[in-house]
């Protein structure tokens, strides 16, 4: 019970922090011009550069830990059902 309450508080604080950060900072987030994005657009900069490898790693690693097994959004359906 104590852990459950603590968890909810942390969840609420986390959401509030992200919402506040986004609100305050997004207006000032224009950092590059279009012609300056050559390096950013290269495939080596992709967060998940290979969809198939992401699929496989999510299945294999998520089933071997208590967490989600990856860093971005994941469906987390259980039993290899991602």
């Amino acid at each position: 019970m104590v852990l459950s309450i603590s968890f909810r508080r942390i969840a609420r604080c986390g959401l509030a922090f992200v919402a506040l950060t986004l609100t305050v900072t997004l207006d000032a987030c224009s950092t590059t011009r279009f012609h300056e994005r050559q390096r950013l657009a290269h495939e080596c900069m992709e967060l998940d550069p290979d969809e198939s490898v992401s699929y496989l790693r999510t299945k294999m690693e998520a089933a071997r830990e208590g967490a989600f097994g990856r860093f971005g959004p994941v469906a987390a359906g259980g039993c290899g059902c991602q």
């Binding site: 852990l3 459950s4 968890f7 909810r8 942390i10 969840a11 986390g14 959401l15 992200v18 986004l22 997004l26 207006d27 987030c29 224009s30 950092t31 590059t32 279009f34 300056e36 994005r37 050559q38 390096r39 950013l40 290269h42 080596c44 900069m45 992709e46 967060l47 550069p49 290979d50 969809e51 198939s52 490898v53 699929y55 496989l56 790693r57 294999m60 690693e61 089933a63 071997r64 830990e65 208590g66 967490a67 989600f68 860093f71 971005g72 959004p73 994941v74 469906a75 987390a76 359906g77 259980g78 039993c79 290899g80 059902c81």
Partner: protein, 373 residues
């Protein structure tokens, strides 16, 4: 429940399809993978054989259906070979049965990507289906992206629903019929170009699961004076709240080379705390080849329901080693070899592995051919 998922999926996808009608459609990318994965059990739950191997094939493709609409589809078929059930010490008086030694699993997912030319909004609805003996699941995926700051920032909201219908069977072969597991996830993402060579992404995900959250055939071995004395059912709560915050960074010191760092911190109301980090690098190799290398380190504090050597039955208890306490070291590499005119064909070879401090080891490999248009 199942019917509601199907109708919701149809209601989401069908209205979007006319946007692609009448426009010239063309393929964008097609790929085919063959992969294998093997787990070796030198620990984990001491009185359970957790060894298995996994062999699969996966075709996938993307097709432009119109100037605003792209279709993504994939299917996967895999054979899972489980090692035989462990023999328990005679002192327990128990005989264990296990899942079938050979299981065929199938995944199908179809998604659309809708973006009008010049619009900062992208809408991504999709449907998902998973089938294997004793476990059928359906799902809906929704994504909404909004570009801001001239494309330097992208806010995204991702919603996933999975409804599974597991067929429950116990370690002593009692048939408990079918149950339902519903999982809902919401993830808020913020991707940001920090400079002309650095990009970051922050993702906060909350997942709520309800229903049967254990695994068929899982059991608890009780100990008396250090000796296994009896066997009982695994019992876990019927709900679970999970939260993860992840940060990803890519830095390109020069064109074609990138250094990456991914990190996440996770906690849930079963008491699991999990931290993971993954440095990586992507760089050009001789010829037109490319390589990507990564190392993953994770540290997990196990669930409050995990008991390695219990003496008494608690209301909730598990010996599923994946919910235990351990440190994991993992790593892998992907090598890509373009060929043909303008490199529109590509071979990709991937190998990866992990070792857990509780004795579980696993490794996998993937061979892939990709065609882009």
């Amino acid at each position: 429940m199942s019917r509601r998922v199907r109708w919701t999926a149809i209601a989401l996808v069908v209205p979007v399809l006319p946007l692609g009608a009448g426009a010239e459609s063309r393929p964008l990318e097609a790929r085919f993978d063959l992969y294998a994965f093997s787990q070796e059990d030198n620990g984990g739950q001491a009185l359970r054989n957790e060894g298995m191997s996994y062999w699969g094939a996966r075709p996938a493709g993307s097709f432009q259906l119109g100037e605003s609409l792209t279709l993504h589809a994939s299917g996967a078929v895999a054979v899972i070979l489980n090692e035989d059930a462990a023999e328990l010490p005679a002192s327990t008086g128990a005989t264990i049965t296990s899942a079938s030694s050979r299981v065929i699993a199938m995944d199908i997912s179809v998604g659309l990507e809708l973006r009008r030319p010049g619009s900062p909004w992208t809408f991504r609805p999709g449907v998902y289906y998973h089938h294997q003996i004793g476990w059928v699941a359906e799902g809906i995926d929704l994504g909404l992206d909004r570009e801001l700051a001239g494309g330097d920032a992208v806010l995204s909201l991702t919603l996933n629903q999975r409804v599974a219908f597991p067929k429950l069977r116990t370690w002593d072969d009692r048939d408990l019929g079918r149950d339902i597991t519903a999982t809902h996830s919401a993830a808020l993402g913020w991707k940001q170009n920090v400079s002309r060579s650095v990009v970051t992404q922050l993702t906060l995900q909350f997942t709520r699961a309800d229903g049967y959250l254990g695994d068929s055939y899982n059991y608890i071995v009780f100990y008396r004076q250090g000796t296994p004395s009896s066997v009982g059912d695994e019992r876990l709560p019927s709900s679970r709240n999970r939260l993860q915050l992840s940060v990803r960074v890519r830095w390109s010191p020069w064109l074609g080379t990138a250094l990456g760092w991914d990190g996440s911190t996770y906690l849930d109301d079963w008491g699991i705390h999990h931290f993971a980090m993954e440095p990586s690098t992507a760089l050009p190799l001789p010829g037109r080849a490319r390589g990507r290398f990564w190392y993953r380190l994770s540290d997990q504090r196990g669930s409050k329901y995990f008991q390695s050597a219990p003496r008494f039955f608690e209301p909730f208890q598990t010996q599923d080693s994946d919910l235990g306490t351990f440190i994991t070291h993992g790593g892998g590499l992907t090598l890509a070899f373009p060929w043909g005119d303008e490199g529109r064909w590509e071979w990709r070879l991937t190998a990866f592995g992990l070792t857990r401090s509780d004795g579980i080891r696993a490794g996998g490999a993937d061979g892939e051919v990709v065609r882009t248009w």
